[in-house]
Amino acid sequence: MSENAAKIRTVLKEHARLNRDADTLSDDSDLYQAGMTSHASVNVMLALEGEFDIEFPDHMLKRSVFESVGAIVSAIDELTEGR
């Protein structure tokens, strides 16, 4: 498990209000099916922006970008590339 994926799981545990433990989710498990509402997803975004010191541009603020741990990893990779 990559370092970022572990940090993302910690954020999910705290903010996504999932109906199961984020550690039991695979990288491509659907977070919405695991109970994340759109309201909870905003808290996840805020926490990720704080944790990784990034800002998600508006075009990334859509369901598919936050639908799984794997999708979030690629979004963060894209925003931190070249750092």
Binding site: T37, S38, F56, D58, L61, R63, S64
Partner: protein
């Protein structure tokens, strides 16, 4: 048809405007006072084959875009607000099926045979006891047994449920799915029961006939709309609802302001040479009416441009926060300005507007648009926007 000038020559619109003035307006007071379904209006719309306006031409429908549908709902609402609302709600359900049922043999047949050939009317059951007005969560879940399914739902508000030919219902995808993991399911008349649980004796929108009801239905698994309600809600149900509702509220407000204008003109004719004092108030009201129209029309045109190709990119854009915020802002703006405009019309007209049996009466208009801010609570919508604005940058 995505331009305002093209709309002016729309036959769909001309036919609807004729039904609005010849049929809907004539029965509007009776529909309102008896709280009854506007049957005459819907018989006329069915006869003119206008109930399939939102069905794509590929299935034999008119294939009207959002701007044309909005203009149609506004035109009908000028004659009868409840009729405009029923037509808008029907189009919303049809659009969900047309835009998300394309890969399904069941829905393709339904669009062609039931909606176009037979001009059937579809109601919607999103509300539910226990979800407190949040359409994006459900308590009830569909029970699937091989290729059969069944569903029970305790709904708080079902418009024209008893007058519809089918119900499009939200529910959880499976018995163990999360509250927000929903699907839409279509039930045709004969495959469900709808037991009324309350009354619909309301301030306004009385002709929508929307009491609570206990729903129980069953059918084939193919009646579940493909994909998730998360997508059909963001890409279709929310934009169609908020744009078509805003359009019809503007139609109601326009009729109220139109009555005020007729009243002012009548006064002016008696005394040419001086501008009546209430004409100033009318001039100010027109500023808000124009802004209201431009607001929904701009959103409709943007939607039509975006969906002209209807590729994946367009659907993705409809799923962004930027678009969701725009829809929320449109709904909040129009639902708040419509009652204000009816109030202005009443101040301009005075006692002749306050009387229910006067040709300048605006009581029904005022009462009808008071539902706008409640029909998906503006407080709930504002809370969602507030939360999105914590991460949205408007960049």
């Amino acid at each position: 048809m995505t331009t305002r000038s093209a709309i002016k020559t729309s036959t769909l619109l001309a036919q609807t405007a004729a039904i609005a003035s010849d049929v809907a307006a004539r029965h509007a007071a009776d529909v309102d006072s008896k709280s009854r379904f506007p049957q005459e209006t819907f018989d006329a719309l069915r006869q003119a084959r206008l109930l399939s306006a939102a069905v794509p031409a590929a299935y034999g429908g008119v294939g009207a875009g959002m701007l044309e549908l909005g203009a149609q709902c506004a035109a009908l609402a000028q004659g009868c607000g409840s009729s405009g609302m029923v037509l808008a709600m029907h189009h919303i359900q049809v659009a969900c099926m047309a835009r998300h049922g394309r890969d399904s043999a069941f829905f393709e047949r339904y669009l062609r045979e039931n909606l176009v050939e037979r001009q059937e009317l579809v109601a919607s059951i999103t509300s539910e006891n226990g979800t407190f007005g949040d359409t994006r969560s459900s308590v009830c879940a569909i029970a699937i047994d091989k290729d059969r399914m069944s569903l029970e739902k305790d709904a708080t508000t079902v418009s024209y449920g008893a007058h519809a030919d089918a119900q499009l219902v939200t529910c959880r995808r499976t018995a163990d799915a999360a509250a927000s993991d929903q699907v839409l399911v279509l039930f045709e008349k004969g495959s469900y029961t709808l037991a009324q649980t309350g009354t619909w004796d309301t301030l306004g929108m009385r002709g929508t006939c929307s009491p609570g009801a206990k729903f129980a239905g069953n059918g084939a698994a193919g009646q579940i709309l493909p994909g998730s309600f998360a997508d059909s809600s963001a890409q279709t149900m929310v934009p169609y609802s908020h744009i078509l509702w805003s359009a019809l509220w503007s139609g109601i407000a326009a009729d109220a302001i139109g009555r005020a204008a007729a009243f002012v003109r009548a006064g002016a004719r008696k005394n040419p040479g001086s501008v009546p004092p209430n004409a100033i108030r009318l001039a100010r009201a027109h500023v808000e009416l124009q802004a209201m129209r431009n607001n929904w029309e701009a959103c409709a045109i943007e939607f039509d441009e975006m969906t002209a190709s209807d590729d994946q990119a367009a659907r993705e854009t409809l799923g962004t926060m930027g678009w969701a915020l725009k829809m929320n802002q449109l709904k909040m703006a129009c639902s708040e300005v419509a009652p204000r405009l009816c109030h202005e019309a009443l101040q301009i007209i005075g006692i002749m507007g306050y009387k229910n049996d006067s040709p300048f009466s605006v009581g029904r208009h005022y009462r009808d648009v008071l539902s706008a801010a409640l029909m998906v609570s503006n407080e709930r919508i504002a809370a969602k926007s507030a939360s999105m604005l914590l991460v949205f940058k408007d960049d």
